[in-house]
Structures are given as C-alpha cells and as structure tokens.
Amino acid sequence: MWFKKKGLTPTTKREVPDGLWLKCDSCGELLYRKELAKNLYVCEGCGYHFRIGAQKYIELLADEFNESNDAIKPTNILGFPEYDEKLKSDTESSGVNESIVTGEAKIGQHKIAIGVMEFEFMAGSMGSVLGERVKVLIDLAIEKRLPVIIVSASGGARMQEGIISLMQMAKTASALTYLAAANLPYISILTNPTTAGVMASYASLGDIIIAEPRALIGFAGRTFLHLKRGRDEEIFSTYLFIYFGL
C-alpha cells in the first residue's frame, strides 16, 4: 500500500465479504468493485488511480493494439542468484514476459506507438529487454512517423542485471534523441509509482508529461527516503511535482 496514511486506518475492522468491496489505498474510502471498474479504476472520493496491469491499461486506452517485439526475453546476464526463479514466477503471476509491453495502437483516429509498463513484473524494473523494446518502439515510430506514448510504472533499474541495466537509461535516452530529431511527439504518462532509473531517463523526457493524481514520482524510492529521512512520502506525489514545475 503506497499511500496508507497514519491515522486514517479505521480502528474497528469492518466485516466485508471478500471481493465485493475495496478500500481506497489513498483516502480509505470504501468502493464497490463494479462501480470502480465503471469509473475506470479511479477512486470517487479522492481521484486516486488504482494500479491496473499493462493489459488493462491498453484495453482502456487503445481501440486497437498489435503487440510487437514480444519475442525477446530476459536472460540472467550476470548469473545473479535467484534471478532465473524470480523471472519465472513473475512471468506466471503477471502474465507478461517483461516489465513493458510495446506495440502499435489506435486511439480513435490516431495511430500511435505505445509502450505500457507492468509493475507486477519485478516491480516494473528496467532490464535489457525493456531497453531494447523501447528502442525498437522508437525506431518503429520514426519509420512510420507515429507519435510515441509510454506509460511508466517502475521501481527503477533492475539490480539483477547490474551495470547493463543502468546502461538502459542511456540506451533509451539516446533513442529519444532520434525521435526528437525526427520532430515526432512523445507523451510520457507516469503512473503510481514511477521512480529512480526510469524517472531519471525516458519517463522524464516527454514533450508532454502526464501523471496520475496521487502517484508517487521521484528519483529516490519511497522506502529509501523513508528510511533515510522519515518524512511523509506524499511530498513526492504528483501535486508537488506540478507545484515545483517539474
């Protein structure tokens, strides 16, 4: 729970039948699941956007979607302990084989190149496959002269791929220089949470940056800052970013 505020937790536990009702992670409002889906997974009380998976996001956003470049898969470059197992279990639980799904889509009349990140897959971390998919997506956009939309949700670089993962920041940013040179627009959408390596590369570089209300956005992750400073994490949410003009 990313925005559980102290003092807002109800003292008496209400008995609710499983699966019918849901409590807002941000304001604690009780929401009826079906109503929530109708409201596109946005809390009626506070406007908090629930975290939905990449597939769901594409469904909501695009009228047509053709996935491309889904053949490339992550590999354990460093021989990092427990990485293979983690990849396998996250592929099964999240239903995607990497933390980003990319392809061509149609929103109304507009053809676009789109990439949507999946937080459930290893906390949306950025590995080699993500870097390559973003690069290929941008190449495709340049070739077909399409605008690019990337929906981000990420905890940062993927430790298990070490330095190679860090270099994906440079890889994605360098691909964007070509997009800029081709005078094509790039819209970056930040969902909850977008931090660290992803925020310090392509997510920050949109011509237009749109963020979900109450999303955690920043350079350092919440746990890290919390440990270090013990301050309220909401300081790094969207509103503050607009306030500071970022």
Binding site: T75, G131, A157, I164, S204, F219
Partner: protein, 318 residues
C-alpha cells in the same frame, strides 16, 4: 592527510614499516643491513602480488572508497595547468560536489568536469560527500555545452556514491536533471572522455557518464546500486554487502567484458592512494592517448558512433 589502512593492506604496510625502522637503526649504529632489507623487499613484492592478484570484489569496492584515494581536485592539481573553475548552474546555486571548469593538459585546452568527495570532515560536508544535487548536474551540462560551443573536448571524472536522494534534490528535479544530462550528452558535438576514478554510483554517475570513450582506473567500480543497497533490498540485510558485491559484477574486468567500458587505466602498485603522482601520470597518459585519437574524427560521425554504442548495450534471449 592521516593514512588509513584497509585490513588486507596491513601485512604489506607492516613490512614496509619494518624496513624503515631497519634503515634508521642502520644509520644510527652504522650496521650493514642491506641484505636484510633486500630480503624484506622481495617479500613485499611477493606478498603484494599475491594479495592484489586475488582481490575479491568487495576488497576492490573498499579500495575504490579508500579515504586516502586521490580525488578530482588532486588530479586537477597534478595533471592540469591554468585550470579555471566555473561555478553555478545560473538557476539556483553552485553545487560543490561537482567541480567544473577549463584547463590545459599538455598544452591542449579541455573542459574538465569531476565529482569531488572532499578530504577533511569539513570539506566532506561542503562537498556533500560527492553526492551531487540537481544544480550540480545542470552546472556540469552548462559547462559541457560551452565545450561544444568552443570546440573543446570534455573529460569527466566520476567518483560518487550516487546522486543525493534528499527532499530538496527531489523538489528541484533530480530525476529530470539526470535524464536531461544523459540525453544531452548523447548529442554533444565534441569528444567526451569519461573516467571512473573511484566509486561509480548508479544514475548519479551516469549523469555525467555518457561518453565516446569510457575508461576506469584499475581499482574503481561502477554499479547500478551500492552493494549495501542491493543487499538490503534483496536480502533485507546490508551486512551481506560482500556477497552482493560479488553478484553485481562491478569490477573493471567484468565491465570490460560486458563492453560497458572501453579500457582500464593501470594504477600504481597497491592502488592510486599509494602514489598520487604516479597515478596522476598514468591517468594523464590515458587521457592524452584518447585525445589524440579524436583529433581527426568528424563530429557528426562521432555523435552517431556514441549513440550507436549505447544503443547496442543489453543482452537478451531472442
């Protein structure tokens, strides 16, 4: 500077001290101890060969963070002439954890950028332990753009635990500053040489780390996360840093193998902190060699090659 010795350095230091003692005694009492000294010296050579050829990744991390290791400001004094420091990002303030300016190396003028940790406690606080704020990255970019404008090559030294993760840094857009630097450095029309001289700490390092040539000093390391950070996130125990250092593959040899860096600059025996001037000389030679390679390259080709280089990084199954 108070000398500090790491645990694995100790046997060598003890032998060296013994030699010094012998020399003093010999001088005082006019004894012939040459044979003994020779014997001890060969012992040192053997011992240090053994220790330094079998360094564990964690020991390398410790060497890279050695409190006596030469910093950017030391190298500026030792390899540059006529250095003029330029301050401020023209927006907010001057960030002392990045030193930027122009100077001459062997008569050639260059733009010189480097992260600086600071030696004394007072200096460390002033330099924020080498952890730059957004204004540091913006200053670096401002000076680098000047390098492009005036056709001067850029040399950037990396030595940081990471970009500063504080409230103020977030408010002023740490992520945005780093992202912008990375993107802008991709297309700067002037040669860029990046050298990791100590700690290469993640995005904080990459914020001034996109170059045509990326080199590392022998006992430096470059990683996506500090071994302590990795251990505490993955295993909830920062004491497992030694294990994490091994798993992260952050040594110079590993990085060369992954083609993330282009070369390794040798260090004096025992590490750069044992002999500043020799270390500086080796660094200077490496920079000069690279600068000569760039003298005939057309700038558009250079930029194209740089982008291609970073775009080819990554490994995956097809």
């Amino acid at each position: 500077m108070t000398p500090v010795w790491l645990e694995f350095e100790r046997p060598i230091i003890e032998l060296e001290q013994k030699i010094d003692e012998l020399k003093i005694i010999a001088q005082d009492e006019k004894l012939d101890v040459e044979g003994e000294i020779k014997q001890l010296e060969t012992k040192i050579v053997h011992l240090s060969n053994e220790i330094y050829s079998n360094l564990t990744p964690w020991q390398r991390v410790q060497l890279a963070r050695h409190p006596n290791r030469p910093y950017t400001s030391d190298y500026i004094k030792l390899i540059l002439t006529d250095f003029i420091e330029l301050n401020g990002d023209r927006c907010f303030r001057n960030d002392p954890s990045i030193i930027a300016g122009m100077g001459k190396i062997d008569g050639k003028s260059i733009v010189f950028i480097g992260q600086e940790k600071g030696r004394t406690t007072k200096e460390k606080i002033y330099r924020n332990f080498g952890m730059p704020h957004p204004e540091g990255y913006r200053k670096a970019l401002r000076i680098m753009e000047m390098g492009e404008k005036f056709g001067k090559p850029i040399v950037a030294l990396i030595d940081t635990p990471g970009a500063y993760p504080g409230i103020g840094a977030e408010e002023r857009g740490q992520a945005q500053a780093i992202a912008k630097n990375i993107m802008a450095m991709c297309t700067l029309k002037t040669p860029i040489i990046v050298i990791v001289i100590g700690e290469g700490g993640s995005g904080g390092a990459l914020g001034i780390g996109v170059g045509d040539i990326v080199l590392m000093q022998e006992y430096a390391f470059y990683s996506v996360i500090s071994p302590e950070g990795c251990a505490s996130i993955l295993w909830k125990d920062s004491k497992k840093a030694e294990e994490a250092a091994k798993s992260l593959r952050l040594t110079t040899q590993d990085l060369l193998e992954f083609k993330v860096i282009d070369g390794i600059i040798p260090e004096p025996k025992g590490g750069a902190h044992r002999n500043f001037s020799e270390a500086a000389n080796m660094l200077k030679q490496a920079i000069l060699t690279q600068l000569n390679c760039f003298s005939s390259i057309e700038l558009n080709t250079l930029v194209e090659k740089r982008i291609k280089k970073f775009q080819s990084m990554g490994m995956y199954k097809v």
